[in-house]
């Protein structure tokens, strides 16, 4: 026996209103991206692809795209890989497992701003933690500029994000590995398989859903690292560490070029939707059992 459907509608009204606002904002974004809107007052004049062609003509835009790709490549891969290995190792611990994952997961509770303040100090070339430790060990640090050099700065930031998100990958994998039937792993052990074989031939193929969750969530995170970019380098040196959301912010709030800003939003939207929509279609099957 269940309640009548009609009595449930009222419970849904608030959320429907909220997500309707969200989706209308996306529509608004699309409309604004095709107008000549510069400065404070809206000018709803159709501009065609004018903003997009200006955007694609900017060298800065392509540096941003390149940086976003670097983030995807060098952030997701190592985080997923190390997270998986650690999770595998943790399942072999007899005790203290929860202490370990708590230590690794704890940075997830911090904001990117705190991580950024902390790591900006560690990377500081003249008085930072890393160089001061290296000096103590007798390394000549005069050429190790870390975050101050255009070539290395982005990787420094990726390491900071890796530190923050490793625990996330670890916990997701830990849950997945525990869901694997124990007999399967045990059988391989008895056959004399090495740790490496068990981890990558038997366990890894069976935790595909965890890999999917991790890669998608980390990919979305590469858009959200705006905060990290802001606090650690402000996109610099030059524009060498800018990523698309940062460019969008600059175009909108510094240059007051809403047309260009929304055009950048649309590019980000297209890239994120390409990840989020397939993921949601997959994830929803877990929630809605129809």
């Amino acid at each position: 026996m269940r309640y009548y459907r009609a009595s449930g509608i009222a419970f849904l009204i608030p959320i429907i209103v909220l997500i309707a606002i969200f989706y209308s904002m996306i529509v608004w974004d699309f409309v604004a991206a095709f107008t000549f809107w510069q400065g404070l007052k809206p000018t709803w004049k159709f501009a065609g692809l004018y903003n997009f062609s200006r955007l694609f003509g900017m060298e800065r835009f392509w540096i941003n795209i390149r940086n976003n790709i670097l983030w995807l490549l060098f952030f997701i891969g190592p985080t997923v890989f190390v997270g998986f290995i650690l999770a595998y190792l943790l399942t072999h611990l007899r005790r203290g497992e929860s202490i370990f994952w708590q230590i690794f997961l704890f940075p997830m509770a911090l904001s990117f701003i705190i991580t950024g303040v902390l790591w900006a100090w560690m990377y500081d070339p003249s008085s930072g933690l890393i160089n001061s430790i290296l000096k103590m060990l007798g390394v000549n640090t005069s050429r190790l500029g870390w975050i101050a050099l255009p070539k290395t700065a982005i990787y420094c930031m990726i390491v900071a994000a890796f530190w923050q998100y490793l625990g996330f990958a670890l916990v997701i994998y830990l849950g997945a590995i525990k869901g694997i039937p124990y007999e399967m792993v045990e059988a391989a052990r008895v056959d004399g398989a090495s740790h490496w074989t068990v981890a990558f031939r038997i366990i890894f193929p069976n935790v595909g859903h965890a890999t999917l969750i991790c890669t998608t969530m980390l990919a979305i995170t590469t858009v959200k690292v705006f905060d990290l970019v802001w606090i650690m380098t402000r996109g610099g040196p030059g524009v060498s560490t800018e990523i698309l959301p940062y460019l969008m912010y600059r175009l909108t709030f510094d240059s007051r070029d809403i047309g260009m800003g929304t055009a950048t939003s649309i590019v980000i939207l297209a890239l994120s939707a390409a990840m989020v929509i397939p993921y949601s279609m997959w994830a929803i099957k877990k929630w809605v059992r129809i």
Partner: protein, 252 residues
């Protein structure tokens, strides 16, 4: 863990000690004045953040749990579509609608107000609260609902008096996740506020970094102060944090 240790020990040192750059050596004498100084710079932000995140979280959980109940408790035909729309909103980075958000608040005359920030945080986080609470509601045995109907209990009373108390762990998980998310948010804090009156704490911390250049002990003290709330939540309610994370990312 070394970064955390160095952060805390440096936050308690004097400027002279910091200048020696022996960061791994513990402080000679605890320098609590660093904290006083950092707190002075951050206190308005902390107050604003608490007001905004607590009220926004409350509304999110209220709206989210109602929706979570409706979507899992009644067999709506359109439920799948609505659920899909909610999942997409949960995961889409809000950066893509930053510009419409500012224009929206400008039109409503809510820029630089508590109400404006709370409204936006509710729009952005209620979907996640729906997913998490919904996941937990699905685990509630259907017998409870049958018993409630036989007793003549109305749906709203059932939701308030039976469903919510029974799923308390789920509610705590959702509350923690949403609260930490809002408390840690930065971009909207800078885009939607002018001046210090309603600005949340993260922008204040960013400013502290900008004004206290190379004053690492002050910066670190500020970072510690700002992270106290999420860290305490994590230490005491970490279990719920994990289960919320799992529920929120589709592994309920």
């Amino acid at each position: 863990m070394i970064p955390i240790y160095a952060m805390i020990s440096t936050s308690l040192k004097t400027q002279e000690e910091v200048a020696l750059q022996k960061y791994l050596v513990p402080p000679q004498k605890l320098q609590t004045s660093n904290y006083a100084k950092a707190f002075e710079a951050l206190k308005i932000g902390l107050r604003n953040s608490l007001i905004i995140s607590l009220s926004a979280t409350f509304v999110c959980i209220l709206i989210g749990s109602m929706a979570g109940y409706a979507l899992t408790g009644f067999n709506f035909r359109f439920a799948t579509y609505l659920f899909f729309a909610i999942v997409v909103v949960t995961f889409l980075p809000y950066h893509v609608i930053l510009i419409p958000i500012t224009q929206f608040l400008k039109t409503l005359n809510l820029l630089n107000t508590y109400w404006g920030l709370i409204l936006i945080y509710v729009i952005l986080n209620a979907p996640m609260a729906t997913l998490i609470t919904g996941t937990f509601f699905m685990k509630v045995p259907p017998d409870l609902e049958e018993a409630a109907i036989l007793d003549g209990c109305k749906p709203f009373k059932y939701y308030l008096k039976i469903l919510l108390p029974v799923s308390l762990p789920g509610l705590i998980s959702a509350t923690i996740l949403v609260f930490i998310q809002i408390y840690n948010e930065f971009l909207l804090g800078i885009a939607l506020t002018r001046g210090p009156q309603v600005k949340p704490v993260m922008p204040f911390l960013a400013e502290l970094k900008g004004t206290q250049i190379a004053q690492w002990h002050i910066q670190m003290a500020g970072a510690v102060i700002t992270s106290i709330i999420p860290v305490l939540v994590f230490i005491f309610l970490g279990r719920y944090f994990i289960s919320g994370l799992m529920a929120g990312y589709g592994k309920g």
